[in-house]
Symmetry: C2
Subunit: 367 residues, 2 copies
């Protein structure tokens, strides 16, 4: 049974202190508004993707949205909770357990659950800064990557975010502004980091039996790959992301495509260096060559990579991020991304990862 | 693709303050110990069922147990997290996304996430006592159920728990002791309530392609039903559990059985009255007749209902409960339940619910 993305919604990402329930309801209501013929009774499963510590949020969302699904629960795996919920929703449909699955992801900027306690005893900095720094230092050492090349990653994402009405801070920065932003570690400046923020997104998955009821342009999930290598990242090579390499190979094989078939990509740019590593590990450019590609995309106004601005430009509401990535690729493959549109996009890819890249999801979508 | 339970484990339920990671690892190690030919590399997905607020527990468990799965995440839906994770694992296998799925459920007695904050503004008592009382009062009013009949539910569960080596408190109580236990509300006494406790359980799901590698007696998941009616229970009839009725009908239909085919049952006896309501709503006895059945089971030493002692007798480690229920039914259908064994058990049922019975899972297993 093929599975389509048959609807989606975003809310404006922000630094507001909106209650998690309201965030979930906002994206869900917007999805109903965006999706023709969708009725509450159609929905077989409601999955909530979040790191919020509140319990029973999927039934609470269902109640508030007037839905009485069969299946409802929360899915959590830190930063890739969203794509984990989507793969779970896919399997409910592909196995015949459901026809229509709603996945709503939401996070609050100040949710305390964003640091991996288990791995927090490793030095001066809280976990994400710590591994972002080590990855950066390793990439510089091995490939001679410069601060200016890293600054272009941030510049490109912030530039793209200008055309994303949902970005929390759609401000453009010069290379100089990025290079002179607040120094956090020897190798990381403030504008090299994505920003945890508040936000929610929702998508509707539907079986091929019913997808056409909800959209004239279903977008099909054709390739899925997932890999958890370890919860402790220092076991990995520090200049590549093994979990993404393995997830990508699975997804390419399932979708029967090669990296050069991909028209538009959402990647998990937690830090500048991550975007370079991921572009390389997905096989979109050879290893060590991504640093040359990014300035070229920036200077030619090419929106193929992170058209909505990535996590750096759009913001990173953890549980919503993977959902928002799928929403963007769906919109791109439907040709509905307006100023962000990549021309003639037919095949899209989402890469979403967690906790120092120790687990990754890669999804291939086609229109 | 048929899906089997191909392995399981339990740990001793207790009131200890064991860290959640240790609980997860204990049950997982025990499952490896119990399951022939199982190697870490066989496992495609690791799902953790818990209400614990720690993040990324599925990759942390994987790391600690030497597993590098494709899929890993936590599933939360309060008291039926365990069966939600199991249905999710079922769908990964049934859809062809996985061959072998490990599901480990764990909870700490003092985990603060056990009260549904969203619904806590309803009176003097915290949520579970509140709805347990209202259900009890309603059942008494409608069916003339007596305190003595309710006490038999507790007596039966505690009696059965005596033969469960994993029960947190395998103590037997007389009807008089139960009837004279501490009064909590007008209609509930202490021994009418299940007890949140610490514990963990694990199960291994396997596709029919590989199940025989791990067990000579695979037990098949043949029927699945789930329903979320509402997150606010007062919208429901207060003498029956609509979510269980609907879930049971789905499961019976999928498994092509009737209630009178069932040989052994695990039901979610959060409070004494729940066991009566559930026996009725599953169709095992006609509505209003369960109160007469329970003393008969007690007096004839019949272990058909909650052979391991239910939540009242064995204890209720929230995220582990649904997993432990499946482990028990599997053991029963394999004829390995020793003193608890129901003779010649061929068809078993698990009923697991959350939050004032606003969502339910019903599973039918066959050997």
């Amino acid at each position: 049974m093929r599975v389509a993305v048959a609807g989606y919604s975003n809310t404006k990402f922000s630094l507001d202190e909106t209650p998690i329930e309201n965030l979930l309801v906002s994206a869900t209501k917007q999805l109903f508004h965006n999706t023709k013929n969708l009725e509450q009774k159609d929905i077989d499963a409601v999955l909530v993707s979040t790191n919020n510590v509140k319990r029973y949020l999927a039934p609470v969302l269902s109640e508030l949205a007037g839905i009485a699904p069969k299946i409802s629960h929360s899915v959590e795996n830190m930063c890739n909770s969203g794509t984990n919920a989507i793969v779970s929703g896919f399997s409910y449909i592909a196995s015949g357990m459901a026809d229509v699955v709603l996945i709503t992801g939401a996070e609050q900027a100040e949710n305390p659950g964003q640091i991996l306690d288990w791995d927090s005893s490793r030095g001066e900095f809280q976990h994400p800064i710590f591994w972002g720094t080590i990855f950066t230092k390793s990439h510089k050492r091995k490939f001679g990557t410069t601060d200016e090349e890293l600054a272009y990653v941030s510049a490109l994402n912030h530039k793209n975010a200008q055309d994303n009405p949902y970005a929390y801070n759609p401000k453009q920065y010069t290379i100089q502004e990025i290079s002179e932003s607040k120094r956090i570690t020897e190798d990381l400046r403030l504008l090299d980091c994505s920003r945890s923020c508040t936000g929610s997104s929702a998508i509707l998955l539907a079986s091929e039996n019913v997808a056409k009821k909800y959209t004239d342009s279903p977008v099909w999930i054709e390739g899925i790959g997932q890999k958890t290598t370890s919860a402790g990242f220092t076991k990995n090579d520090l200049t590549s992301i093994e979990s993404t390499i393995q997830a990508a190979n699975q997804a390419y094989s399932m979708a029967r495509i090669r990296p050069n078939n991909i028209d538009v990509v959402e990647i998990h740019d937690a830090f500048s260096v991550c975007e370079l590593m991921i572009l390389e590990d997905l096989g979109i450019v050879p290893k060590g060559k991504a640093a040359k590609l990014v300035p070229e995309l920036y200077n030619t106004n090419n929106k193929k990579i992170n058209p909505r601005g990535g996590l750096m430009g759009a913001g990173h509401p953890l549980g919503a991020t993977g959902v928002a990535q799928i929403a963007e690729i769906t919109s791109q493959l439907q040709g509905l991304s307006q100023k962000r549109q990549v021309e003639n996009a037919k095949i899209g890819l989402v890469q979403n990862m967690s906790a120092a890249a120790t687990s990754s999801t890669v999804l291939v979508l086609k229109n």
